[in-house]
């Protein structure tokens, strides 16, 4: 079996395990390349029709192209789309320039997610994080439990042997399931190419710049690049010396911001 098929089969196995354990599950879709790939894998796992809701956490600061992409493909793929927003914080003017970026991510992403989970009673979430994105994510389990405060207990994670994932317990508020944890950035692009997965045009170079990772407008900077097609992105990644999240301002505030954010329940 070739590399991409091996990765795909591993992901589909995990997605199906998660759906068996938690009929009350949802997919977290940021509209970025990773969660769109995950969404594609879910369509394959369930023969075209995803049998659970897809959540988009809307900070109101996303790129206009992302909102358009979301609405288009929610229709094309017949998604049961839930838009989660922390109305209270948005209303009071929370933003990355008011206070720290950590506070902003925590309010507009993590707390919006908390509210959405609480209101719908989801017991599990599928997330498109990957181990090679960040050293903290490299420590994740495939099934990663969170308590009622969304705390990630990274100092005492459950054992995870072979393909046996932890059953749920009463202390678990919900379980984060990570079906593409084992894929790298270049795997994702090779898979997008093979499967012809639609992807936001923000990733393609315009005027000598492109986004390697997308999120909120104020905290995303493009990288210098002339890669205007998926093939060119793959070529670029083979030799690049910059890291994928170099343009993501929230990781850079402090060496351990990602750890702090994630321990509070960030993705």
């Amino acid at each position: 079996m070739d590399h991409l098929s091996a990765l795909e089969n591993k992901s589909i196995f995990i997605i199906r395990e998660a759906y068996y354990r938690f009929r009350n599950i949802a997919l977290l879709w940021s509209v970025g390349k990773d969660s769109t790939t995950l969404l594609w894998l879910c369509r394959k796992a369930f023969f075209g029709k995803i049998p659970f809701p897809v959540i988009h956490i809307d900070t109101t600061y996303k790129f206009p192209e992302m909102y358009a992409f979301r609405d288009d493909y929610a229709k094309v793929w017949g998604l049961d789309l839930i838009i989660g927003k922390n109305e209270e914080s948005v209303g009071s003017g929370m933003g990355p320039s008011r206070g720290s970026k950590l506070d902003c991510c925590n309010e507009l992403k993590t707390n919006a997610l908390k509210n959405t989970i609480a209101s719908r009673g989801f017991k599990a979430l599928l997330l498109g994080i990957r181990r090679d994105e960040h050293g903290i994510r490299a420590k994740e389990r495939v099934f990663s439990p969170r308590d009622e405060n969304f705390k990630w207990n990274y100092e005492d994670q459950p054992a995870e042997l072979w393909d046996q994932y932890k059953s749920t317990t009463e202390e678990d508020n919900h379980v984060r399931v990570h079906p593409i944890l084992h894929m790298t950035e270049i795997d994702i692009w090779n898979y997008i190419k093979r499967e012809n997965i639609p992807i936001s045009e923000l990733y393609l170079s315009r005027g000598g710049k492109r986004f390697r990772s997308i999120g909120c407008v104020p905290c995303c900077s493009p990288v210098e690049s002339n890669a205007g097609s998926i093939d060119e992105i793959i070529e670029e990644l083979k030799t690049t010396k910059t890291s994928e999240r170099a343009g993501r301002a929230q990781d850079k505030e402090d060496a351990y911001t990602m750890q702090k954010l994630r321990s509070l329940g960030y993705m």
Binding site: F13, K44, G135, K139, Y154, A159, L161, T168, Q259
Partner: protein
């Protein structure tokens, strides 16, 4: 370049230099971006240290403050030959469950031993776990050769001892390599100081390993779930061994029903005729019903039983006391279980039997046990079909032990 990535776990006693070796390997092969290098330099300075290669793997603040690895980290790099996933495991006894978690995903291992300190408790414990999990491709890395003046004699002493330990576990190390990881000697390039070593560097040793070959074997397809698609019940699952073919007669274990494969489904593919080990498929059958936990086989040669004889390793702190309620999970099968007999328990750090006919198993101990299950399961010997020959025991939803059917 080879297609699939090779998964390698790095094991050994605390402070013998596992994370440093991986960090150095990463750095010397050019896999570390300048930006990440700067980040680690700053973090090292903040902890009052010179450039700390281990920080490439140890990213938690607590890990850097305490100078230890708490949990496994997976990292990715490539050589001319292939892609690698390097799994850095923690070396403390208290994090043994994390070490086992990492090792369960590996096809090969590098065992690190500090030349100045020799074999210690976790060296022995980790060796034992490698043997038990059937990891036969092992390279031993004798690290910190700088602390013993690069002396060949010191190396030979450690080499002899570790060979003795591994021999008892039926592991023949492919290489035993003297290195000084923090200065990169014999990691990616040969060391002048260690010119008496005629074998490969760590990087060359890695490239000489091979992926686990999946032998042509009998069919095992455990059912994961049933989906209703166009009012047709489709059983989904992953082929764990062998090949499933359209039209084939199959048995449904553990019940011993017989049926045929009417159709194999994969989204976006028409008329799938067969699927082999590793493939996730949907199956519709001619007659009868399937449910999660059923195992589809082509010949009724699997073991259908309520009694399992196994070697288990205990992972949680509480340990086990006779009478504790457990859940047995093997592939997609799950049933209540009780350990009725602890034939013997021992501490792999000493490899001496602690007690026969025991009433308890303590944290990080290994035991030979008889387990009685509430419902029948379909299993195989670990040595024959590992996917159906290994299991996890849970207590109140928490995985507490792993086991190998012998």
């Amino acid at each position: 370049m080879e297609e699939q990535a090779l998964h390698i776990v790095i094991v050994g006693h605390v402070d013998h230099g596992k994370s440093t070796l991986v960090g150095r390997l990463f750095y010397d092969t050019g896999a570390l971006s300048p930006e990440r290098f700067e980040e680690i330099k700053r973090a090292s300075e903040a902890q009052g240290k010179p450039f700390e290669f281990a920080y490439i793997m140890d990213n938690l603040l607590e890990e850097r403050q305490r100078g230890i690895t708490i949990d496994v980290a997976h990292t990715f790099f490539s050589t001319q030959k292939r892609k690698y996933v390097i799994i850095d495991a923690p070396g403390h006894k208290e994090f043994i469950k994390n070490m086992i978690t990492g090792t369960s995903q590996a096809e090969a291992a590098m065992l690190i031993v500090d030349a100045s300190r020799g074999i210690e408790d976790q060296t022995l414990r980790h060796c034992y776990i490698l043997g038990m999990l059937g990891i036969r491709q092992v390279a031993v890395i004798v690290n910190k050769m700088d602390l013993v003046g690069y002396a060949e004699d010191a190396f030979k002493t450690v080499k002899g001892r570790i060979e003795g330990v591994l021999e008892g576990l039926k592991i023949t190390p492919a290489y035993i390599i003297p290195v000084a990881a923090n200065s990169g000697q014999n990691v990616a390039s040969k060391s002048e100081n260690l010119s008496w070593h005629k074998g490969p560097t760590v990087l060359e040793a890695l490239d000489s390993f091979s992926p686990l070959k999946i032998e042509e074997a009998v069919l095992r397809l455990p059912v994961q779930d049933i989906y209703m698609i166009n009012s047709d019940g489709i059983a989904v699952g992953r082929v764990e061994s062998g090949t499933v073919k359209k039209g084939q007669q199959i048995y449904i274990l553990p019940g011993m029903g017989m049926t045929s494969v009417r159709e194999i489904k994969k989204f976006g593919e028409e008329n799938v005729m067969s699927a082999s080990a590793g493939e996730c498929v949907g199956i519709s059958i001619g007659r009868g019903w399937l449910k999660r936990g059923d195992v589809l086989v082509d010949r009724p040669n699997a073991i259908v039983t309520k009694n399992v004889h196994a070697n288990i390793f205990w992972m949680n702190d509480r340990g086990f006391k006779m009478g504790d309620q457990l859940t047995f999970k093997c592939a997609t099968q799950e049933t209540s279980a009780a350990i009725d007999r602890i034939i013997k328990r021992f501490d792999p750090a000493s490899i001496e039997v602690i007690e026969k006919d025991a009433r308890e198993i303590k944290a990080a101990e290994v035991a030979e046990v008889d387990i009685t299950l509430f419902s029948s399961v379909s299993i195989d010997m670990y040595a024959e079909i590992p996917e159906l020959g290994r299991f996890v025991l849970e207590s109140d939803g928490v995985p507490v032990a792993g086991g190998i059917i012998v």
